[in-house]
Symmetry: D3
Subunit: 330 residues, 6 copies
Amino acid sequence: MYDLVTFGEAMLRLTPPNFQRLEQATSFQIQVGGGEFNVAVGAQRLGLSTAWVSALPNQALGWMVRNKAREQGVATDHIVWHDGERLGLYFLEQGSSPRPSSVMYDRANSAISNLQPGEVDWDKAFQGSRAFHVSGITPALSSSCAECTMEALQAAKKHNLFVSYDLNYRKRLWTTEEAARCQEPMMEYVDLLITTEDDANDVFGHSGEPAQVAKELNDRFGLTACAITLRRIDTVWTGGWTAIIMADQLYEDITYDLENVDRVGGGDSFTAGCLYAWLTYGDWEQALKWGNAHSAIKHSIPGDYNWATAEDVKRIMAAAQSELRFKIQR
Amino acid sequence: MYDLVTFGEAMLRLTPPNFQRLEQATSFQIQVGGGEFNVAVGAQRLGLSTAWVSALPNQALGWMVRNKAREQGVATDHIVWHDGERLGLYFLEQGSSPRPSSVMYDRANSAISNLQPGEVDWDKAFQGSRAFHVSGITPALSSSCAECTMEALQAAKKHNLFVSYDLNYRKRLWTTEEAARCQEPMMEYVDLLITTEDDANDVFGHSGEPAQVAKELNDRFGLTACAITLRRIDTVWTGGWTAIIMADQLYEDITYDLENVDRVGGGDSFTAGCLYAWLTYGDWEQALKWGNAHSAIKHSIPGDYNWATAEDVKRIMAAAQSELRFKIQR
Amino acid sequence: MYDLVTFGEAMLRLTPPNFQRLEQATSFQIQVGGGEFNVAVGAQRLGLSTAWVSALPNQALGWMVRNKAREQGVATDHIVWHDGERLGLYFLEQGSSPRPSSVMYDRANSAISNLQPGEVDWDKAFQGSRAFHVSGITPALSSSCAECTMEALQAAKKHNLFVSYDLNYRKRLWTTEEAARCQEPMMEYVDLLITTEDDANDVFGHSGEPAQVAKELNDRFGLTACAITLRRIDTVWTGGWTAIIMADQLYEDITYDLENVDRVGGGDSFTAGCLYAWLTYGDWEQALKWGNAHSAIKHSIPGDYNWATAEDVKRIMAAAQSELRFKIQR
Amino acid sequence: MYDLVTFGEAMLRLTPPNFQRLEQATSFQIQVGGGEFNVAVGAQRLGLSTAWVSALPNQALGWMVRNKAREQGVATDHIVWHDGERLGLYFLEQGSSPRPSSVMYDRANSAISNLQPGEVDWDKAFQGSRAFHVSGITPALSSSCAECTMEALQAAKKHNLFVSYDLNYRKRLWTTEEAARCQEPMMEYVDLLITTEDDANDVFGHSGEPAQVAKELNDRFGLTACAITLRRIDTVWTGGWTAIIMADQLYEDITYDLENVDRVGGGDSFTAGCLYAWLTYGDWEQALKWGNAHSAIKHSIPGDYNWATAEDVKRIMAAAQSELRFKIQR
Amino acid sequence: MYDLVTFGEAMLRLTPPNFQRLEQATSFQIQVGGGEFNVAVGAQRLGLSTAWVSALPNQALGWMVRNKAREQGVATDHIVWHDGERLGLYFLEQGSSPRPSSVMYDRANSAISNLQPGEVDWDKAFQGSRAFHVSGITPALSSSCAECTMEALQAAKKHNLFVSYDLNYRKRLWTTEEAARCQEPMMEYVDLLITTEDDANDVFGHSGEPAQVAKELNDRFGLTACAITLRRIDTVWTGGWTAIIMADQLYEDITYDLENVDRVGGGDSFTAGCLYAWLTYGDWEQALKWGNAHSAIKHSIPGDYNWATAEDVKRIMAAAQSELRFKIQR
Amino acid sequence: MYDLVTFGEAMLRLTPPNFQRLEQATSFQIQVGGGEFNVAVGAQRLGLSTAWVSALPNQALGWMVRNKAREQGVATDHIVWHDGERLGLYFLEQGSSPRPSSVMYDRANSAISNLQPGEVDWDKAFQGSRAFHVSGITPALSSSCAECTMEALQAAKKHNLFVSYDLNYRKRLWTTEEAARCQEPMMEYVDLLITTEDDANDVFGHSGEPAQVAKELNDRFGLTACAITLRRIDTVWTGGWTAIIMADQLYEDITYDLENVDRVGGGDSFTAGCLYAWLTYGDWEQALKWGNAHSAIKHSIPGDYNWATAEDVKRIMAAAQSELRFKIQR
């Protein structure tokens, strides 16, 4: 029934304005975000029909998160509502060189960390759907979340969904050993693995040239494709974005130069663009190009998820090499 | 060493601006507050030397709370620092008739809720001090907090401190039965009990005329004095404030008419004004007048604690009955 | 398929903050609203499934309006998208006595004003639906909008929907004569007519006691019920709200005292509450009580539409006569 | 050449938002204002051609003040520019009952306080002009300002201008004795004296019924007319405004009920409305009505000066007694 | 009577803060601007006396635009006021690489688009004036605006004014063919033509080296001088600005490196600086240098028009090559 | 009793947001700062116990300054309170290339400028203390401030404090001749002199290679060490920071690349880091490294003083050469 179903946590993000340190803040800007939430939003805006599965506390902050998904057209029918629980929060400090941006989490005991296998009706969510996406954050939230992730992966395969997995290692949530032990068995259900060089090394112990790492991961886990995102960090405010995909062959793309308004969710936007194009065109070259362009635009937009349209992405791709690509659009 | 030591939780308060509902907020104004924190600040500003005892997480939000105490001159030497824990939060919706203001707490597992007896060096904090204040919120936070409260009360009496206790019943934290069972034994250490009519009835089962209730509480618990605060609620934006004190005799005062900018902390400001005047003048009539005037001003000031000065309080008391009491001060 | 379908314009509302005059503004707060949009949102939040039908320009401002409907769970499938057109705007000045709030419209040539009969697939929208609501603003937008309104009313009746009509006379859009000539023929399709005393007099020429006016309108147009909303204006910031419904008998309710954060959309909230309760309980007394309480809360919430929940409405109704109805909710 | 020339100081006003105390502010809203500046703006907006005479520092803040005058159409040709000097500032705390609003000045050594007789070319400013207005603040700024004020008054009379004088006693600037000694000789040049009951008593020693005081002042100083403004202070947020004028006879008006967004400049708006109507209609009854209505509106508008139009004033006067005077204007 | 008269539209500009997309905005910052408006402001601030001619709706937004002109000292006597019409709006999205800034217009049916020949009294406006400036936007607004532009050009020549014309092609308003057909006949009245390379090519079909293009345009249209502005676009946030002027000879200047706070109005600031210096010094080298420096500063200032002073421009020109040109000024 | 005592002025800093020019501002962001104030805050946050000595007006703005010191843990016991005086202000315009940031002072007649020798009890402040810091701004404020500075330097030496002096020449306060004449005699009390190349040349006439200049200053004044700060200015938004120290030998460090959120106070942060490390480790190499890293971070933090922690500084130093030094911290 959906082109894409995603599963994971969304949090309230609280950001002091104007590059203030958290300690000096007198107000917070409110955003909502989370890896799989961001993917569902991005893919929906590009043209897929998507659903986001999660657990939320049944109070105003949980409603706010649901509202933000609905605002973007993402289906929220499979959210599990928990009374008397809390929403995870995180605090973002926007930096400037030489002070990097940084994140402080307050996500322990969030509603989703208490989600138990059986609470989500995966058969219903996956009935008639085409693809499923989850990241390595979800199984890291709690042992029951790890069980739910496995439950979802197995159900996805049962329903013949294309399965995308973003490795997304979070050192505050578990050790690399725990991450490896938990996720290795999950890889058999995965079609597309998305990772950075660091995470591939930290969790699965593969290092070296990205194309080689991707190839090794494909071989080891029997993946259809492996995408490795390659961020160039020039300063806190500037950098570059590209990625490769190793599938039937190696796919490469240009690097987009970035001025970072908000880096958070850049990887999720890659995933969203990539899945949109893969599910729409069935072509890894398009998947890579859409993923990169969609991610590049994200860095210019405040918040965790991407307000770009397919039209925006096409314009950026078309103008990418032009001298006038940064000219004001009138 | 301090005129007044207080003990309790402080939280980050997050308030949507302009009367927005929590669900529709896009930013939060940040305040810091908590019953005993507010009392320490208020009394310090009026002229006492005060210390606030608590446990805080050793990260930016915990530092922010400490900073706000220091900003007001409140001593923070006896704060216990916990690594890896969280700060309690609460969300305030400012209302207008017929929608009352409302509060949603996210305070479970805060650093102070994990405070254990023995962590605070009460002997050091009370050495040479004159008075101690705590409210019924502190023992309600956790069973270890209840133990710490009893520990503090006993230490306070050992050091011959004047002990003030604000009953402050919070139904989200415990039942009236639990509140009664826990706090009855504490009352033997208390000199001044501060309560509303409702709390006196809900926790200790005394109802009727305020003066009569106060007298019964004095007799039952061997108090020196009992203050009952009497809020008149006209609308969400307007009301009135007064209180009585029953000590050697009944003390009464005028009622201040209020336009509510921020009602939160009104009771704590009463306590602060009352303790300031009692410790300064040793006179219950003054204690009552200072408590009421200080509380009345609080309602006009944003945030949980009171930015009034002793000068402000004197001016309000002096002008209270004047026709020109609301005239612009040039 | 929907409990309620509504049809009308939504505009971008631009409001200078802090009671500034439009001429002195340096920023605008953005809201989205419109009579029938507000009704769809309010009813959805209370528990109905609703759809809002309109025409929007296919650009960012049109998408913003659609997003706001989706954010609240309102179905947007039947919106007609026009390329190259504009969204109507209005500018709101919030006043204080003796300066009333005021509205300046910039709505000419909005996308909906160009909507033509046949563009909306009413059969599809009404298939399996229960009720339809439109106001007298929609036919006033343009002659083609008047035709579309008639088209919708006839289709609604064909599908046996309960039809609600808010007379809502706007003197900037048409004369009373035009309003009467256009709307009289529409009344035969209407089950519930909602109006103020002024509008009933200006458009249909009925004046006098509200109950009598309602009765005359029922008789003249063969209505099931007629609601007359009765706003008491004390000052710009304060007032009262009640309404009567004349159906099989006269229904009356208490008057809610109001502190106005934002008066706009108060009538729409009455309609939403009324329709929710009528469609849920089939009881005019409940319809009146829900309409009044829902409307009263609206005045405390910024924006055109109502962020209250059914829980909020029940609490307000239950506490309406209590002394502590304005007490802070902890 | 101008209908009205005014002479006095304008300052930068810095206001903490949201009823914050000055001590707790993290930002200031910027306004520009000053008694005679406000009168020039108000009268210009109503329809007179006005000029404001002052001295300003030749730097960005001085330019800002000039810009604000020009923005309203007030002529700034006769401003004297001083290099290397400062602009006076004042800090406004907006209050709520029982805490009144209050003002802290930082105006010492402002450019105008150093203005010397001869710097302003009064003959040029008054050539072809009709009226001159100054308040008791100007001579209080410095002894040279007192000399300049006398110089201006004498020049005004030489040019046969109608002279208006607002007594406006400021206790922070001089004693009542100083004020009396300085201003008594000025009164012989005055046609219209505007004062409050308090100022009339404090400076000139006349007390009692306003009409009687006005009559005594008329007689003592040979005035054409004396206006006494009568503010009713209900709370900090609410009150009433009216005034009387004693000229050939006593003129009285209704009292306007006020919800105070910003009380500052209320008296100046009375003067502006009064002078506009006197110079336009030559009728004290109109002068009083325009002064009162214009002043009443001012209380609803943020800033020191009045953004009302003549149209606004007429609407307020027409609706003053109507039940629907506070109804939203669509 | 004026050094410079300009003629064209001014719009309300609405900008989401903090790089937000239009679709995600919750507030707008308000600016006023328009090509010829910006030129009048810039030249006035530098030292010319200027007037801006336009048509405005006779309501608060029209008044706001007039106020902003007056605030800067620009004469507004020749504005034509239209009752019941609207002000044009535009929405600006501030971008960051790789997302360019973009503009969405809502200017159809603005008051000026309905301006008819004969409404402006050009003889009065030009009597005693020295120069006239208009851009290619004005004739593109409507056919009657094209007629008014021709009327103004002919009147300007009749009064022997120096005529400046900024080609400023806007593809949303007309095709290049329409632009060419309409503007070719206008060129005979023009002394100074200002254009970009793109516009020169798109409208008049001249491409190649800027100096060559300028020479061809001079020859073809009998111009006194032709300025070609040369923007270097490095990223969305950074770039460079210079221009050439071809008159009796070729004039060239350094390129200013830019950090873009607000690029809008950069070209207009070139024109303003250029005209100021030409009319003041009668020297094309000075005209070019002032134009470039004035434009470069504009990019650092929020809003459409330039708040620089002549002093600022001189400082930038003097420091342009210095190592310390970006040092903080204390 | 303190590790470090500093002496100097603190002012209220008012900054228009969003790169606005002062002339166009409608609000100011409020900061508190001053050279020696900033040093006391920075050193305290890193781990020293510090006191700030100054004179403040006894009103809300003076209290605000004291509060900000206390908020950071800086002792305020030796502040001298003056009734009826004013606080110095300064206005900061944040620039972008080619417009540099700039500062306008309004500090004449501030409370500290009236401070007289004898008002501060230096013996009490220095009793048991380790170091004293003052800058060349303090003696420049007034002749009595120059006397107080000498008084402090002599008392510091009497108490055997390590004396740090930041030359910090301010051309708006005095000429280079005055600065030289006044400060030369002070140098005999100084252990560590901190200066820029420009100031060393302007005040003391030493130019050339920084190491050579430092050596000459050491020799001429018998200093223990001389630090020369070396700012690389690339654009207004970007640059680099390093410094050298010449003591027993020459110490050099890497240059930190900067993205400037707020450059003000960068030098003070160098001093704070330097003094912290010198007093903690007694090692000039550490002093230089801590000074540079602490200063570099400052440029990324809004306000005059530095909210970094020792942990932050260590992280920046450790990551300084790493490719991932700008990676988001999760």
